[in-house]
Every structure is written in C-alpha cells, then in structure tokens.
Amino acid sequence: MRTSSKARAGQYAALLAYLVFLAFPLLWLISTAFKPPRELASLHPTWIPKDPTLANFRQAFDEQPLLHAALNSLVAALGAAVVAVLIATPMAYVMARHRTLLARAATGWVVVSQAFPFVLVIIPLFLVLKNLRLINSVPGLIMVYVVWALPFALWMLVGYVRAVPVELEEAAAVDGAGRLRTLVSVTAPLLAPGIVATALFAFISAWNEFFFALVLLKTPEKQTLPVVLTHFIGAEGVADLGPLAAAAFLATLPSLVVFALIQKRITGGMLAGAVKS
C-alpha cells in the first residue's frame, strides 16, 4: 500500500513534533546550565543564553563532590549492569530453550514479581545487607540494584534468546561443535545486541536511582550523584537553579555517551526480541 505524499508529510511532522517534545527537557537543561543568574529569572526566557557562563559548573564543582559522586554512581551502575547480565543471561537461556513446566512457572514468577510492591523486594535485601554489614557500602547498593533490575532483565533476555533460531545451534552440533562451543561461537554473538540492551537498561536504572542510595549510603564519600544533586535544593523546594542544572546536565552525559556509542547495537537488540522467527 502506497502512502500519499500528504500522509507522509504528516507523519514527518508528527515525528518532528515528537522529537521536539522528547528533546525539550534536555535542551532546556543545557540552556539553563549556561545561563547567569539574571537570565534565569528573566520574564522572557531565551533558548540561547545571551551571556553564557561556566560559573554554574564551577559553583557546582566547588560546592559538591560531583566527580566523586559520579564515580560512585558509575561503579554502582556498571556493577549492577554487569552482575545483572551475568546472572540473567544463563537463566534466560535455560528458560527460553527448555520449555518445561518449571521454566514456564519461572517465567510466570518473573512476570508476577514485577507487579509486587517494591517494599516486598527490598525486605530480604535489607536483612541480608544488615547481616553482611553492607549498609553504607557501594557493593551493598549494587546488590540492591541487581535484584531490582533482574526480573525485567531476565524477561528481556528470554525474548532475545527465543529470537535466535534453535536450528542454528542444531546445525553447529551436527558440524561437531560441543555445547559450550555452540553457545560461545554461535549463540552468544547473535545474542550480543540483546545483552547490550539489557545491560544498558540495568545501567540507566541504577544510574538514576535515588531512594535506595539515600537510605543505604550514610557518609558523604559514598553518596551517588542523584543524592548529591538534592543538595542544591533548599527548604520549601527553593533551588540553586544554575548549579543544579549544570550538575544535572553532567549527570545525564554518561547515559548519552553510552547511548551514542552503542546505539546501533541497541536498536538491533531491541528489534531482535520483537518478533518470533
């Protein structure tokens, strides 16, 4: 079926509007980060700062240990992503390939667990962390993030594994490849985009998480970026807007960079799990 030129123009216009809508918060954040205080309180705000300044960034770095907090966030998010994927991948493979009653029950359990109130997931975590003396530690936080990300990661990966035709593995076996060789040389490369997409999901979830970090981490040297960002907000919600925007912009950069670097792989990964072969 052919699309008329008018309909196509309409589609592009809708897409453009959607992109503008999505990009607005980030562009406004960037604009705010470079505005001096007087421009921040202007009745007629501008997209491009008239008198751009780096003072907000300087102040943000002077006032708060942003680099240290970013490093903590990075360690926590990377740790959570790596561990979640390491645990979820073999589990997902088994659940996707061996459609036994147990695997189906496990899949159902994963789906149901997503509907649980958050607090039910955190109860055993806190007990474990307390006994392990992992409160106020980044490894403890990583444990929480892994458990938080695991069900959804597993769910995602099951879809990706099912998208890899089992016939390829059978062909490798006919050619004499052992189980491990088949997994490493045939399945893993095809699954890579899905693994990357899943890891990215876990990374961003952990990178942005606030509440667990606030409750678990007590000392300043352990705090993560989302917690430190709240230090720019005063009583009754009054904010030091310039430094806050500067710090928030810096906080979004890692996610943007990771996205930019592996965008193609993510897209491939997401599509791979979308349809049945």
Partner: protein
Amino acid sequence: MRVRWIVVLMLLLAGCTSGGGTSADGRITLRFQSLAWQEESVTANKELVKEWNAAHSDVKVEYVQGSWDSVHDQLLTSFEGGEAPDIIHDASDDLADFAYGGYLADLRELLPARLKSDIPQHSWDTATFGDGVYGVPFLQEPRVLIANAKWLKESGARIPTPEKPWSWGEFRSITKELSGEGRYGVAWPLKEPVSATLNLSLSAGGQLFHRDADGKVTVRFGEADAVVPRTLHDQANTDHSASPTTLGSGGSDTLPGFFGGKYAMVPLGFSYRQQIVQQAPKGFDWQVLPAPAGADGLTQGVSPQTLSVSADSPHKKEAAEFIDFLLRPKNMVRLALGDWMLPTGTQALKDPALHTAKNDWATGTALAQHLRPAPAQSVRGYPEWKDKVATPAFQEYYSGAIGLAELRRRLVKDGNLVLARYQR
C-alpha cells in the same frame, strides 16, 4: 504510600550499628548532618567545623551534607537503623514525630545556661514537645513584602516601616491602587497556602487551634482567623490586585514577573533576598517591607531551623558542646549571614552586621521580636489536617471556587474529625 515504605524500612533497619563512635585511642568522632545548601552557608558551616576540629583534638566532628528535600525520610530510616548522625540540623516543624518517637535527646540537661538564656522562650517553644526540648532553634525568617521600590515611590503610597506598618486593610487598598493594565499590586506565591495563611494570621489574632483545659486541641475559625484569608481572597477575586496565576506557585516562580514589572510586591521569606541580589536585573530597585499588621501587630509564626542530638548518640554531652560552640553569638551571626536569615539568639541579633541598611537587614532584624511559634506545629494530626483538609480548602477559597462559609465549614468540621482521631 511513601509513609508505608518508611514504616517497613524502619522495622527492617532496626538494630544496625551507630554512625559516630570512639576510636581505639579514645578519640571521639561526631557526625554533624547539615542542611546548609547555599554556597555561603555551606562555607560557614564547614569553616566552623574546621575551627572546632582545630581546637578539639579529642572530639572530631565530621561534616555530613544532608538535603532539605529528603531529610524527613532519610532521618527516619537513619534513626531506626541506628545510623543517625549525632548532631542533626532540621526545622522545628519537622521535629514533632521524632521527638514523640523517642529519637531525639532531651536537651534540657545538656545545654549550658549561656545558650538557654540567650534564646528567648518563645523560640524554645518551637522545639518543645511535651516536657522536653528536642532542638535548639537558631535561625528563623519572617515573611516580608519585597517591593519594587521605584514603582512604590512613584505611586505616592506611604512606605511602611516596622514601627509603622500597613494594616491589612491599608495593604489591600494600596495593592488595588497599584494594579491595572495587566499589572498587579501583589503576587502571592501560595503553593503552600496553609503555613503562609496561618503564620500571617497571628498578626490579626487568629489562632485557629485552641487547646482546651483537658489538653485536647480543636479548630475554631473566628473573625480574627478570617482577616488574612479574606484579604488574600478579595485581592485575587474582587479587586484583581493579586495575580491569579501565582496562587499555585512557589516563591521563586514569582521572581521573573517581579523583575519584569508585572507585580509591585511579592510576599516572601526574608532569605529570598539572596536570590533577588543574584538574579535581579542591574539597576532594579527593591526594598524589604514588613508584612501588614493586625490587631496583634506584626506578630507572625515561624518554624526555626534547629540543631538536635540523636537519642542513640553515645556522646550526647560532646554533641551538645559542639552545638554550643556552633551557636556562640559570633558564630550564630556567621550562620545567619550565610543563610540570609535571622538568628534567634539575643546577643547575635545585636551584631552590627545584622543592622545594616544594605539588603535591608535592619528591616528584618526589627521584626525578630515579633516572631512566634507557627500555629499547630506541635498539634498531633496537623500534617493530615493540612494535607487532606486545609490545603485543598484554602486553594479553592483563594481561587474563588468556594466562599468563606464553606472554607470555615471544611476547616472546622472536617478538620476536627481528623484531629479527633489523634486525640482519642
């Protein structure tokens, strides 16, 4: 929902180890969680901690940065987890739950006579719950009118002073005169309408909460309680001298319009002067005016910032000594200047730095003697009354959706039903 979370977390966290401690060589380490957030204020706090540490080799204080945005939840979990800081910075209206819950140390026996006598009793009242004192109130701010000085001068209106303030009626008629052609005499930022209304109502003698002989608190909405709400309502709905768009805004949201010449005055906390100094266009002429006065003069309610000691702290005596150091008159002045607020201490209030005309410090300092505990901050059930009954009722009244009779009915009838549940 969040409260339910916290309750469960509280149960989970019980029994964790404490934060501060004693090292093998007998050196004590105290954790001081500060909520200072403005650059000058953070600097002042950190400098004071540094000075203390330089002078006290046996008791080290570790500065921990907290945040106003999440302090209640964070403290609650910390208390239950045995991880609370030894010295806690908060606001008096946040202390009731912690004080009644046994999380804070009673400071009456811990604080020196110097500090006790330096701070007026009405300030101590803001941190007194039951028989105990659970925080040292040290910084406070009145709500003031920040005015476009040029506009006001050109109008020919009488400029009010702390000695001769405007009455509420005078304020209403002046804002009416200043309005027209898309410009307004006043922009009320009433995102949190309850505390603003109740605190200012004290000036007209409005109490709203009345404690009976048996200790039970009930809500009564008399003529004195209606003075401030009626003025605000009439400015927004009858005179059109108050901007209707700012009724749901926070204080900072009104500043662009104020600088842009849309509003002649904005009622804000005294500390907002810092934002005005930073953000006002060059040459913008502004000044601080006292809030209007009623039958009780310039009286208004405040919830001062406080310093408390955790009940679990093994070093309460040392923590109280640090608070005493932090709140010596000169240090209290440094903290006040850093936060652009007023100190509670009578000695600190005499400091010349707080009596300068620059940035209208003197106007605010003159109001300090009129500040009283915010109404109902120690009334159990107040947070629920505020959230479920008073906030929507005031918002609807100020927007013109309901009249004064309906406002009264909701505050009193619905309100007393809520309070009764807490006082059985």
